[in-house]
């Protein structure tokens, strides 16, 4: 049995005038110790996917249908009290911006101790001992002193390490990391990612890494989902997706990577923008930006199909494969 199994998840947002479908029929599996990357542009629904696993979608959003089975229990229909025993305990989450994630008026120690005490019957002194051990694991110098400090006294990188330490406090089975380095300085982004990968591997923790950067995903994960306008458009082993992308959108993402571009050459970009979720076009949501779009693409939404190695939602994928894809422009 897989650790996490998401089936036909639909999340909607009831806005003033219309109800927006933010996630449309999302399904995927995650095994114990496996690392999954969710990739896509801003607004594709990656973060909402991450939050809905914890059933943490805030008003006016709600889970309209589907199951989120974590160790066989459905997070979508669980009571608030049961959800609390899983959140932070068996599934931990790392948020995007460490500057706003920690509560500014509580010390690091208070925020770590309260997490432990919410799930274990521990004295404050014992909880602090565990906190110090975890802070050492993420290479925080002088952890005893950090417990007394407030978040604003620490740098962004330090705070994100502390948040990783909080995620590890209760030895969870799964960590969901939502763009954990986008808010950080470029020079420490790689350090944080490396730390996260090491800790997941050594503690045998599953990881869902939400990012817009396919390059990061290729280094960190075994499986990848590519999302576009609230849907999964390509899913499979990371190696397959990075080396032989099937969907024109994924191909565009790969081409846009700086690593794929020779020095001095212009970065290739997918023309246009992703449509807002309130205004997704008919047919394939990607068709206005797709160079291969046909009338079928404009009228009918493609279903996700199993191609053996990967799953892809594209009408033209067969034809594209027969016509050997031109690869000259990749360095």
């Amino acid at each position: 049995m897989s650790l996490l199994s998401v089936r036909d998840l639909v999340v909607k947002f009831a806005m003033r005038k219309q109800t927006i479908t933010a996630l449309n029929q999302i399904s995927f599996e995650l095994a114990r110790g496996e690392r999954l990357g969710i990739v896509g542009e801003s607004g594709a629904g990656k973060s909402i996917t991450g939050f809905s696993i914890l059933n943490l979608i805030s008003q006016p959003g709600y889970i309209a249908s589907g199951n989120i089975l974590f160790e066989g229990q459905d997070m979508a229909t669980m009571s608030a009290a049961d959800l609390r025993t899983i959140r932070g305990n068996r599934i931990a989450m790392i948020f995007q911006d460490p500057m706003v994630t920690l509560n500014p008026v509580l010390t690091i120690g208070q925020q770590m101790v309260e997490t432990l005490q919410a799930h274990r019957n521990l004295s404050r002194a014992d909880a602090e001992k565990i906190a110090i051990i975890k802070l050492r694991e993420v290479y925080i110098p002088a952890p005893e002193d950090r417990l007394k400090q407030y978040p604003h006294e620490l740098s962004g990188g330090m705070r994100q390490r502390i948040i990783i330490a909080i995620a590890l406090l209760l030895d969870p089975q799964l960590i969901i990391a939502d763009e954990p380095t986008t808010a950080l300085d470029v020079t420490i982004q790689a350090d944080i990612m490396e730390l996260l990968l090491d800790l997941c591997q050594s503690n045998k923790v599953s990881l869902i890494l939400i990012t817009h950067d396919l390059g990061v995903v290729s280094q960190m994960t075994e499986k990848t989902l590519v999302m576009y306008a609230g849907k999964i458009i390509e899913a499979g082993p990371t190696r397959e997706i990075v080396n032989d992308p099937q969907h024109p959108y994924t191909q565009g993402l790969i081409k846009a990577l700086p690593q794929q571009t020779a020095p001095g050459e212009r970065l290739s970009q997918i023309p246009g923008n992703m449509p807002p979720l309130s205004d997704v076009p008919d047919g394939c949501a990607f068709h206005p930006r797709c160079e291969y779009a046909t009338d079928l693409c404009r009228s009918t939404t493609p279903e996700i199909e199993d191609l053996g190695r990967v799953k892809v939602a594209c009408h033209e994928v067969q034809r594209l494969n027969q016509r050997a894809t031109p690869k000259e422009d990749s360095a």
């Binding site: 609390r84 989450m93 948020f95 706003v100 920690l102 509560n103 509580l106 997490t115 919410a118 909080i166």
Partner: protein
């Protein structure tokens, strides 16, 4: 923290200086001290002599320095009407006003926090909607109308509560006359306190509610949910603490506003406090008393604002470092 303290005290002193200038300008231009002293029936020569003697012919700066010097020693002149030092007259009225503010503050703090938090946590419940509906009506009724309405209802119609005055007071520490010492005193302070609280309470409920709702939307509260904390801990430790920071600042300003509203409440209930006395002094053109009131009220404003700022600096961990590091 020390630099912050010094900066705040310096600003308080500057504001007090401006207030003293205004007070002096009023004293200089309002009424004729000679007439108050000797009446009309004195010859022009005697007047000139007296004028010289009182230093009224000195330059503005010399006169202000004399005024400020006296004021620093607590001498704000003698009330024309009471024939007593103006400061003494005011200090005698001060307890009545402060107890009114105290009574109203107890009502405001006691009710606004639970109601504000409740309406923020359960914005769609019927009770919340009722509280918000009543609070917007409360904001729309001026203090003096609430007071009149209550008098009409509870004093004239139902005859439950007395309509004016302080009733029996008990003396504390010799000079402080308190309403909280006897049943009659308590009965007298109920309506004025409620009237004074009536406009501030809905303001605070709405302020706490909107700040709390904003805090509940913040990333750190979301993170707190993601950590699996109990709702009570999230609401009252994570959210409320951050909610109260801006409320403290606004609250400080509102204490000052409340002093202004005491003038209205005291007028309606003929409450023998500073505000009531001030309006009487204005009608009698009792300049020293007007000036003394101005200085005492200005002082209360400056002191409360400074204290509130200092409390804010103590409670908010981010202020400390920002100011200390600077």
């Amino acid at each position: 923290m020390f630099a912050y303290l010094v900066k705040r005290l310096f600003q308080a002193a500057a504001v007090m200086f401006v207030i003293s200038l205004i007070s002096f300008a009023i004293q200089d231009n309002l009424g004729d001290p000679l007439r108050e002293l000797v009446g009309m029936s004195v010859s022009e020569e005697t007047r000139d002599e007296l004028r010289e003697e009182l230093g009224l012919n000195d330059s503005f700066i010399v006169q202000y320095m004399r005024f400020a010097g006296k004021a620093l020693h607590g001498d704000l002149g003698t009330s024309y009407f009471f024939k007593e030092p103006a400061l003494d007259v005011i200090l005698k009225k001060l307890p009545a006003t402060l107890e009114l503010v105290l009574g109203a503050s107890v009502i405001i703090i006691g009710l606004s926090i639970p109601l504000g938090v409740y309406t923020a946590i359960r914005p769609n419940s019927i009770l919340s909607k009722a509280i918000m509906g009543i609070s917007i009506i409360g904001i729309s009724i001026p203090v003096f109308l609430t007071a009149i309405l209550m008098i009409f209802l509870f004093a004239v119609d139902l005859r439950w509560l007395p309509s004016y005055g302080r009733g029996d007071t008990v003396h504390l520490f010799g000079s402080w006359a308190t309403n909280f010492g006897s049943w009659d005193g308590l009965r007298h302070i109920i309506m004025p306190s409620i009237a004074l609280a009536s406009i501030m309470l809905p303001l605070f409920i709405r302020l706490i509610r909107s700040e709390m709702m904003e805090t509940l939307q913040s990333e750190y509260v979301r993170y707190a949910w993601a950590k699996g904390l109990s709702p009570w801990r999230i609401w009252f430790v994570h959210a409320l603490k951050n909610t109260l920071l801006p409320v403290i600042t606004v609250g400080g300003v509102q204490i000052g506003t409340m002093v202004a509203y005491t003038i209205l409440t005291e007028t309606v209930f003929q409450w023998p406090g500073m505000g009531f006395m001030f309006l009487e002094a204005v009608n009698r053109v009792d300049t020293p008393l007007i000036v003394a009131y101005l200085i005492v009220v200005g002082f209360i404003f400056v002191v409360t604002n400074t204290i509130v700022d200092l409390i804010y600096g103590l409670v908010n961990p981010t202020v400390k470092l920002a100011r200390m590091g600077a």
